[in-house]
Symmetry: D2
Subunit: 261 residues, 4 copies
């Protein structure tokens, strides 16, 4: 992994619910190569899932599941003391539900990326990654599990190997990194990179050289397969366009993870 | 269909939710040949679904989905003005979610039977059957759709043919029938047959002769593939045992629908 | 009621939920005299209710409850076969919950206006109005119940009298009316009045003369205490401003219903 | 507080939901003096709340609110990373909703006791007690807040004083205590006292002497105003009867907290 001339761009989509609209899915989906679709627990509903899978199909974007905690009120962003068994079953349920919509459109899901608090808690308790990898392997051996690039890489890779599941690692285009490869906490100054050119240049450096300038100025090695981008506002959309422009100028192709992992 | 020496017994199971226990699943599952498993909308939750699929596997009982309206508070028994599109997506979502648990256990779902108000509304608006048959055919051509035996048989069969989906018809062991093959409404006297021997004898007559004594005493023709029984209380369990005893004495085998339909 | 130089403007607010934002509450609240606040069943959540009550207090706008069906997914717009007892308890629960936020801010609720499908169903089944009036009278004799001006006026007034509850009637600024005083269905051409000057002039005519030009051109009598306006988009906000301008030029004061009913 | 000839018995009730029945409310309510009624977040629904308040009225038992986290699936027993603001609003919402049912029956709520994870988290983070005491004082200065007797007593009392809210402390009839007055964790041997006579004798000793035999045999001082008992099974009901018998024989009267606090 690491140095290559292909990279995936992924974005969280399908987060509307009933009468509530969230995100600019129509704008963002054609600009990325993979989408993480909410599955009705923290966001999304059956009708939104159907529409989102159908949009992914229209633009040839690889669909993935974005399972979260059953906490619509908190948008899946609040830690919940769920047991490993509960988490396993929540994830299975949500992947299965989304698979139905993919099947109806003649598609297969490409990947699974946990959402919000579930994602964050999994890095604190690797048993959660183990449970998720197990479920993924039981449901479809070709499903890729997406995790954050950083200090837990080796542990998560060995969990993947144990269950025969490929792991893709993601990099956050607009976030600063610590020297150990972890994200600078949002509570700290400079956690978010607001300059779009700088963010795009960092993505290019990561793809071409496998390097990131960490906080403090040190260059660190970081390998990633997919870049997480957002689609909730016009500025976020422009950042994706900027990233594509910079990558295109450097002959880096934007392609779904499954094409090269 | 109709006269044969095999019949299916089906029961609604997996209706517990979180801390709330409903039904005597451990007792009823070994006594039937097919189970209709709630999928988390009107009843059931991911953990209950997992346990129920696992019980079905242990006893070799054919699992099916029992999708309903998103109305846990009303147990899916209240009509809701959902559109055909909404219903299609609700049903797809629930079947997909349950398929995940079946897949994890190495099982395939055998059938889909709508629950409560969704089931009842479908007989008033055949477009609902059409939408459900379409979804079923998209998800798995081998999935059998279960409908009530009675006056709508031909219409529902032709909807099934249109989508290439097999329809199984069910008979209610403990309910009285009108002369047109419809159920006597629960609001009327004599709608429920309380004598267990009489109920079991009616099941046998249906299986052997394809006949039911309708209200008023006329013998009518009615063909069914599966007998709906309940498992919510000890008396219901005893009725299943009585039915098995009467069927067994007459050399009728209890077997999952997919074995003979 | 009828001819007077005061009128209330009411708008549905507090419809956001968790991470989902709906409506332009900050813009609309200062422009109306009464607000109907969602209570967490079809929309709204405890935090949104707190913020909305607090906004109402800041601008001196009279708060009211906007109870709906427990159907967040359908935004309370889908008819549900709830029993009268269920409806009574749903309405009591929601009013009570909102009263808590009002009490915390030292306010009293002014009114209750049912939302969506609950509102529509009540005109088809006056027992629902009876149940709601009963609950309102039990919770606070000063609470005003809001209903649609039109052919059911007398029936609803007599229900109000029976329970000692004042009824206020509302007029829709941007909707066409039939000759019997009922709304032209949205499925028909011309149901919505898009010209803002025309809409504002109709409001003025209603307030000053108690008359509306119904479909077909006949002038009919219609008495209303409050005008329903919307706040979901900038055009809706401009319509409220236009109505205030036209009313102001004619010396009609915009004031909460409780001030003059 | 402490030595007196009156004590309150409280029990969690109204935990059924829709079609799901939980607890033996009809049996337990007449045996206690105060009930903690679920408010629709972790358990209970509007109809159940109405029925439960009505039962409390019939037997002259003092009703209180039992607010919890919005986690029906986890029965409010799972810690959730809700903010203090969210908790404040959740508690206000639930108390208000229950007040409506009390008002309809001409009753006032006597107390508020947090449920499950909310209760447990509050002892880890006293800001939660502060937020709850603040809400209680805003809604009704006469509402008593119930907390666990034990090492946090002084802190919680001073929070109560700050907001002008009376605090009642509860003792668990069937639980062992550590020497610091905290509960022995359920994960440890001997955490639950199964012998009913012993449990009842401990209650009597607590009431008469303000003493408990802690684990290890030391006698410690512990003052409590109310005894928490359960009503989920016949053995629990028998324990309440045994406690009443032992208290009665010692001339201790069972009475709602508000009568003597």
């Amino acid at each position: 992994m690491g140095l290559r001339n292909k990279i995936d761009l992924n974005s969280d989509v399908g987060e509307s619910f009933g009468n509530y609209k969230l995100g600019m899915d129509e704008a963002v989906i054609p600009l990325v190569s993979s989408v993480n679709i909410a599955c009705g627990f923290h966001a999304g509903d059956p009708h939104v899932m159907q529409k989102t899978i159908s949009l992914a199909k229209r633009y040839g974007i690889a669909p993935g599941a974005h399972p979260g905690f059953p906490d619509l009120l908190g948008f899946g962003r609040r830690n919940m003391d769920a047991t490993i068994d509960e988490i396993r079953d929540y994830v299975a349920y949500q992947i299965g539900a989304l698979q139905a919509f993919a099947t109806r459109e003649g598609l297969k899901l490409q990947h699974v990326k946990p959402h919000g608090a579930l994602y964050n808690m999994a890095f604190k308790n690797l048993n959660i990654w183990d449970a998720m990898a197990e479920v993924v392997s039981q449901l479809d051996k070709n499903l890729i599990l997406v995790a954050m690039a950083g200090p837990d890489r080796e542990n998560i890779e060995s969990i993947g190997s144990k269950h025969g599941v490929k792991i893709a690692f993601e990099f956050f285009a607009d976030r600063a990194y610590n020297q150990d490869g972890s994200l600078v906490s949002r509570r700290e100054m400079g956690a978010v990179i607001h300059d779009q050119q700088e963010a795009a240049d960092r993505v290019l450096k990561l793809v071409k050289d496998g390097k990131v300038i960490a906080r403090g100025g040190t260059k660190i090695s970081l390998a990633a397969d997919t870049i997480c981008v957002h689609g909730d506002n016009p500025a976020a959309i422009r950042l994706i366009e900027k990233i594509r422009e910079v990558l295109g100028a450097a002959d880096v192709e934007v392609a779904p993870i499954a094409e090269f992992l």
